[in-house]
Structures are given as structure tokens and as C-alpha cells.
């Protein structure tokens, strides 16, 4: 592995005509000229080993009249990221698409187009992804205002000066809607988004000879209200007989404008919002966000808080994997029994969360520089009992219950295979990536918090099918228990500080950018935040693992039977709150 420093100077020398270091205060990486982006990206991937593109996102710098696209590329062997940016004028933001080099950028570029209106030239399928075709405007642009606009930032003045009101009472329609000037609903032609969708899926696989023969493929629509899509997710599959030949995931049915709201919130207000991203793993989301902001603030939490964070994050991993396995079995047709056994353990862990944080699911537990309160003693006793006695037993039981079941094996073995090359190229993360034989775990690759102190193995399996994605979750739960045991052993005594500094609701965050990432139960969860030194973030972007893992759904599904689609989706383990945000 080349030394990063050497590579950096090498890069600068070689691409001196298109590359300039980003010298803004608090920023890192390089600014690449749009015309040189593809050559630079190709060299990065093929010659410098940055083969894993983690995150692509856009930032609207309204005062500078500039749009910026930010890329975070990593080496799959581990280490810090290489950050590079492309700056384009705001009135005509056109950037070459990197999907030909990193296919994993597909959905992320579509999202940037949808929300910020940045056009990616050469993208094969540049349509809106979270909103519908025909939506008015690109909402994450700083000058775009929603119908319920009350103020640029929170807190809103009205709250401490006047009586209660409902937004809708101020709207002429009594609803959260607004329409462009001159729009006439009677002459308006609906853009038949569904029609376009169906046709695009058929077009992709239609061969000229088929048209002559009239051998038609069938388009099947699954969801968004479907009991097996884990929420409001929709898939459109083209079938040849029963075999899937093309698939298009459709999402956005739970797009809650997390990022737009996040840019209006103050820094601390975003913590409870992150709970609602992936609502099964709230603690882990908290962790990622506070890590990103602490990077900007240069804050180091005290020892005991570090341990508490690790304990909560690992418990969350167990909760999530229990849930995932239970519902994977639901998707397989083992309706509810395995899920019930798994949820039982989850409930007991949630009791600990409730005691420590106050809420079962929406924990809001971490703060900048520590955690909000120490875990109560009775909950601690319960935690120790669970970790040392009950959970290992129950995981073994789940293993015994399911792993060797012949029906599960025949439904899962060899289904939904993702090769390691595909897995890396498509930017998958977490169990999906590791089940394909790539031992990449942020906890090891770029340790955060105090993860470098723990002795654990990165679980890895090599077949990349649904069965391995099931097994890897069992493995990971066991590794989590190992970490938990060490954390319980090493944690400083009760009474040690759990928060750096005093609790405060107005934190000072210096200007700059930061990318904090954690290994969430679903994969790499990253938060890209830009601060201008004010009370709220200028840009707040979430690199959601479930969302990006879905990029690989088509690759996994092609060639499988339509009945397996549900299982393949279940094995990715998506949560719509995070997919759509």
C-alpha cells in the first residue's frame, strides 16, 4: 500500500493542470476541474487503489453562486479517504457522471439531481429518485422555499411571542401545498411517471429479435403497499417467464426532507432527528452524527462516555440483526415464529435503552462530547446479565433453530449472488459487502471512537448469496458480544465524567467541513456536514447505507426467480426511513 503522503504529492504533480488543493479554512482534499474529472477518477481507481466510492453529494454555496459536488473515495484495504470536489456555476450546474467508473454513484447522483438540480452528463438514467417527475423545483437549493416556510433558521420567533397556531391555517388551501404561478390544473397534462418507468424497464432488456417474435416480457410491480417490502418500497421487475431480467427500485415514498429540515435546525436539534433515520438503530445514528460534529469542534469525549457509546452501538447492532434475521425468515415464509423469538431479545435490550435514554426506540442519547446521562445501575446489572448469559445462549438457539434448516438452505443457497468485484464497484457496505468476501469494516479500516482497543474479528463470508448474508449477521452478533464483554470489563468506574464540558444547547462549531462515518449495523453510515460557524449547519448530508446498498439490488436479482425477489430484498435489510430520509 502506497503511503498517502507520497500518493498525494504524486497526484498533485501529475494532475497539476486540473487539480488544486482545497485551501478554504476547515476544508480538505482537492478541487478538480469538471473536464478532467473522469481521467482523474479513473487514475484514482486503477492506479492509486481508491476503488471504493463511499459518498457523492452536492452542496449549494449560494453566496458564492456555486454548486459543489463532493466525492469521498476510499481504499478497500483501509485508511483515510481522498476527498475531491468539483465546482460548477449555479445557473448551469453540469458535472460528468462517474457512474462509468464507480457504478455505486448511480443513485447518489440521481439524488443530487433530484434535490439540488445538478445535472450529471453521461448518467444512464438521470431521473428524479426521491420526488416524483414533475415536482416543482429542486428543494435543497438554498433559495427554494417550501409552502410551510416560517423562517430561515430555528428557533422561530413566533414560539416565544405569540399564541399557538397551525401552519395550515395560514395556507389558502389549508394544506401543505404550493403551486407555480400561472399553473392551470385543467390544462395540465400529467407526466405519466409510471408509464415512463415501466417503459424504461422494458426498454433496457428488449432485443430486436423479440419485437419481431412478439415474445413479450411481463412487467411486475411490487409495492409500495406490500407486506414484504419492509415499508413503502416499490420494485418494478421485468420477467421473462419467471426469471427477472431487469429491475428498477422505486423509492421516495417516505421522503421526509430530513436534510432540508436538518439545515434549518441548530446543531443539537439534529440529534433526535437522526434517531428517525434508520429507526431500528437510533443509537448508531446518533454516534455517526456526533462524531462528524465533534470532528469539526475538535472535541474528545471522556473515557466512560466512549465506552458507553460503544456499548450502546454494539447493543444496537444486536437489536438490528435480530430484527433483520427475524424478518428475513418472514420473507421466506416462516411467518412470525423466528421473528417473535428475535423480537423477544430485542425487547429486553430496548428496556436497557429505555432506562438509559428514556425511550425505547428514539434514544437521543448522545451529545457533542459525550452522552446525556449515565446508565442507571439496575439497567447495568441487566446489561451484564444479558451480555454474559442470555444473549449468547439465545444467539446459539437462533443458530440451531435456523441455520441447518433444509428449507432455508434450499431457498437461500446460491440465490441473489453478488460477487466481490460487484460489491465494491456498487459501493455496497456492511453485511452485504462482507458476505461477498470483502472484509471491510469501518471499525477496523478507519477506527473511530475507541474501537482500536477491542479485540474482535471482522466477520466475512465468501459466497455472496442470501444464505451468507444471513450467516454473517449471526457472526456479527457474536463479535458484538465479544466487544461488549471487553467493554464491560474495561469501562471506568461509575462516577467518572460522561460529558466533556458543560451541557449546552448552543454549541459553537467552527467553519469547515467534516465527514464522520461509523460502521452502522446496515453498513457505513456517514454524515457530511458543512459549517459556516453559525448556529446551524450549512449542509447536512447523510450517506445512508440502506439507500446505497439498494444500488446492488438489480445486480443481485437478475437471473433469479420472481419469488426470490422478496428474499433478496430482505437480505439487504433496508429501512425506509434511511433509504428515503
Amino acid at each position: 500500500m502506497a503511503q498517502p503522503a507520497v500518493a498525494a504529492s504524486d497526484l498533485e504533480a501529475r494532475f497539476s493542470d486540473i487539480l488544486t488543493p482545497d485551501t478554504r479554512k476547515g476544508y480538505e482534499g482537492y478541487i478538480v476541474k469538471p473536464e478532467g474529472l473522469l481521467a482523474f477518477a479513473k487514475a484514482l481507481r486503477d492506479e492509486y487503489g481508491y476503488d471504493y466510492l463511499s459518498s457523492v453529494t452536492g452542496v449549494d454555496y449560494l453566496p458564492n453562486d456555486m454548486m459543489e459536488v463532493v466525492y469521498h473515495a476510499y481504499k478497500i484495504t483501509g485508511g483515510p479517504p481522498l476527498v475531491f470536489k468539483v465546482q460548477v456555476p449555479r445557473d448551469n450546474p453540469v458535472v460528468p457522471s462517474v457512474t462509468s467508473i464507480w457504478p455505486g454513484a448511480d443513485f447518489q447522483e440521481r439524488e443530487a439531481w433530484d434535490l439540488l438540480g445538478i445535472r450529471f452528463e453521461g448518467h444512464p438514467n438521470l431521473r428524479r429518485i426521491l420526488l416524483w417527475e414533475g415536482f416543482w423545483g429542486h428543494p435543497l437549493r438554498k433559495d427554494w422555499r417550501e409552502p410551510y416556510y416560517e423562517g430561515e433558521h430555528k428557533p422561530f420567533k413566533q414560539r416565544t411571542s405569540g399564541p399557538h397556531f397551525w401552519h395550515e391555517d395560514h395556507s389558502p388551501f389549508g394544506k401543505n401545498v404550493d403551486y407555480p404561478p400561472g399553473f392551470d390544473p385543467y390544462t395540465w397534462e400529467p407526466e405519466t411517471a409510471d408509464q415512463i418507468l415501466y417503459e424504461s424497464v422494458v426498454q433496457r432488456t428488449r432485443k430486436p429479435e423479440q419485437e419481431e417474435l412478439h415474445s413479450e416480457q411481463v412487467v411486475v410491480n411490487l409495492g409500495p403497499q406490500h407486506p414484504s417490502t419492509h415499508g413503502v418500497f416499490r420494485m418494478i421487475a421485468t420477467l421473462d417467464g419467471e426469471t427477472v431480467v431487469a429491475l428498477e427500485p422505486v423509492m421516495g415514498y417516505l421522503h421526509r426532507n430530513h436534510e432540508k429540515i436538518g439545515e434549518r435546525n441548530t446543531w443539537i436539534m439534529n440529534i433526535p432527528y437522526t434517531d428517525r433515520l434508520d429507526y431500528i438503530t437510533a443509537m448508531s445514528n446518533n454516534f455517526g452524527y456526533v462524531l462528524a460534529v465533534e470532528k469539526l469542534m475538535g472535541l474528545e469525549p471522556p473515557e466512560r462516555a466512549q465506552y458507553l457509546r460503544v456499548i450502546m452501538a454494539e447493543l444496537t447492532r444486536i437489536v438490528n440483526h435480530m430484527w433483520a434475521i427475524g424478518f428475513l425468515l418472514n420473507d421466506l415464509g416462516a411467518f412470525f415464529t423466528p421473528a417473535l423469538y428475535a423480537i423477544e431479545e430485542r425487547e429486553l435490550i430496548l428496556d436497557i435503552f429505555e432506562a438509559a435514554s428514556g425511550s425505547r426506540m428514539m434514544n437521543n442519547y448522545m451529545r457533542f462530547g459525550g452522552v446525556v446521562r449515565d446508565i442507571p445501575e439496575d439497567a447495568w446489572d441487566m446489561l451484564v446479565k444479558l451480555v454474559t448469559d442470555r444473549l449468547p445462549r439465545k444467539i446459539d438457539e437462533l443458530d440451531r433453530f435456523l441455520t441447518h434448516n433444509e428449507i432455508i438452505k434450499s431457498r437461500c443457497l446460491g440465490v441473489g449472488v453478488l460477487t466481490p468485484e460487484q460489491a465494491i464497484a456498487l459501493s455496497t457496505a456492511g453485511p452485504v459487502l462482507r458476505a461477498s468476501g470483502v472484509p471491510y469494516d469501518v471499525r477496523r479500516a478507519e477506527p473511530y471512537g475507541i474501537y482500536d482497543r477491542f479485540d474482535f474479528e471482522v466477520a466475512v463470508r465468501y459466497h455472496g448469496d442470501v444464505y451468507d448474508r444471513y450467516l454473517i449477521r449471526i457472526d456479527e452478533m457474536r463479535q458484538s458480544l465479544r466487544i461488549l464483554e471487553q467493554a464491560i470489563r474495561d469501562i471506568p468506574e461509575r462516577g467518572a465524567p460522561i460529558l466533556a464540558g458543560k451541557p449546552q444547547y448552543q454549541v459553537r462549531v467552527p467553519a469547515g467541513e467534516a465527514y464522520g462515518r461509523v460502521e452502522g449495523p446496515k453498513g457505513e453510515l456517514g454524515f457530511y456536514v458543512v459549517s459556516t460557524g453559525k448556529a446551524n449547519p450549512w449542509r447536512y448530508h447523510v450517506r445512508a447505507p440502506s439507500f446505497i446498498n439498494l444500488t446492488a439490488l438489480e445486480a443481485m436479482s437478475i437471473g433469479n426467480k420472481v419469488a426470490d425477489l422478496v428474499v433478496i430484498l430482505g437480505s439487504i435489510d433496508i429501512v425506509l426511513g434511511e433509504v428515503d430520509r
Binding site: P163, H164, H404
Partner: protein, 203 residues
């Protein structure tokens, strides 16, 4: 592929099935008693796991949070001393901006006084995050344990000050540790202040 895996799995479900009855025989007071509920929420539980709400209630931890309420101290003559000073920190820190405060005015002078005239919490917005209670300097807004607040009409979901006020004794009852701790803190503060004042006087 000889079916041994399936049998192994079925043995697990059978064990669970039997355990639910064995535990019923082994333990007395397994149902409808606090002891039983405690056992069923402990890591030792085997067998039936169900807590039969509403006859039985899960033991909520002290830190449990739902919708916030406002605390008043019961005065000697039965008057209600609202702890809230309408400083507005809770409204400022609330992520969903669900708190509306109107300051009271002195009836004689018309100047604003540090008491709330109106206080609204819109539970159609409240996300139960607890930040308001966490940053309240007067220990005046507390997260409630009462979750039985489903209503038939939407306007009932906006809680006004009458709906929000609860006595300090209720606070003490649901959160004894926190109550004691905060009371001690306040006392220490008052003592320090008195000491400072005393010191200033002797100067």
C-alpha cells in the same frame, strides 16, 4: 438434506412451547402481580413473555419520557406556584418547535413578568425527545410517563397550560431520583447565593 435441520428447529419451538407451561407451574404469582411483571421483564425470563396491558403494566423506568408537562409547587394556601419563568429556553431548543409561550403581563404596569400566561405544547408535533426538560434551568418542564392520551379529535392534541400543569408531588412520584437530585442542587445553589450575599454584607 435429510431433514435433520428441520427437526432440530422444531425441537427449539417445542422447547419454547413446553417452557411456557413449565414456568407457569414452577412460579407462583406469575401473573397479575408486580413480582410477576418484574420477572417477565428480566433477563431470566423463559416461557410466556406477554405483559397483559391494561390489567398489568410494564414497569416504566424512571427515565422514561413521553409528552412533557409543567410543574407547579403547591403553595400553603392551595395556590399553584408555577415554576416556569417563561424564559423560552425550551421553545428555543425544541427540535420540532412544538412549544408556544406567551409571557404574562403585570396587570397594573403592563410590563412583562417572568410567568407564562399561555403555554402550549402541540402534541401533533412533539417528538418526545426530552431536550426541553434536559435544558430547563428551573426544573419546570418534565417528561411525563402518562401515555394514555389517545383522543378522538385533533384539536384536543394541543395541550394548553391547564392541561399541562401537574403538581410537584406527581413529579416526585414518577421520578424520585431526579426530583431529589434537582432539589438538592437547588438547595445548594440557594445556600451558595445566601453565603455570597452574607459575605457581601460583611464587607
Amino acid at each position: 438434506m435429510d431433514g435433520r435441520g428441520i427437526l432440530q428447529g422444531l425441537a427449539v419451538t417445542l422447547k419454547h412451547f413446553i417452557a411456557s407451561y413449565v414456568d407457569d407451574f414452577k412460579r407462583k404469582n406469575r401473573y397479575f402481580s408486580e413480582e410477576g411483571v418484574k420477572y417477565r421483564s428480566s433477563p431470566e425470563v423463559e416461557g410466556i413473555f406477554t405483559i397483559q396491558y391494561p390489567e398489568e403494566r410494564r414497569i416504566l423506568h424512571e427515565n422514561f419520557r413521553y409528552i412533557p408537562f409543567l410543574v407547579y409547587d403547591e403553595g400553603e394556601e392551595g395556590q399553584r406556584d408555577i415554576r416556569c419563568t417563561a424564559c423560552g429556553i425550551c421553545a428555543k431548543v425544541c427540535p420540532a418547535q412544538t412549544i408556544w409561550i406567551v409571557r404574562a403581563k403585570d396587570p397594573n404596569t403592563g410590563r412583562p413578568v417572568s410567568k407564562p400566561a399561555e403555554f402550549y405544547i402541540d402534541t401533533t408535533l412533539c417528538m418526545n425527545c426530552g431536550l426541553c426538560a434536559e435544558f430547563c434551568p428551573f426544573d419546570a418542564i418534565i417528561m411525563d410517563h402518562d401515555f394514555e392520551i389517545a383522543v378522538y379529535d385533533k384539536p384536543d392534541m394541543v395541550f394548553d397550560i391547564e392541561r399541562l400543569l401537574r403538581p410537584a408531588s406527581y413529579y416526585q412520584q414518577i421520578r424520585p431520583t431526579q426530583y431529589a437530585q434537582k432539589a438538592a442542587e437547588r438547595e445548594a445553589k440557594a445556600k451558595a447565593k445566601a453565603a455570597r450575599r452574607g459575605a457581601a454584607r460583611t464587607k
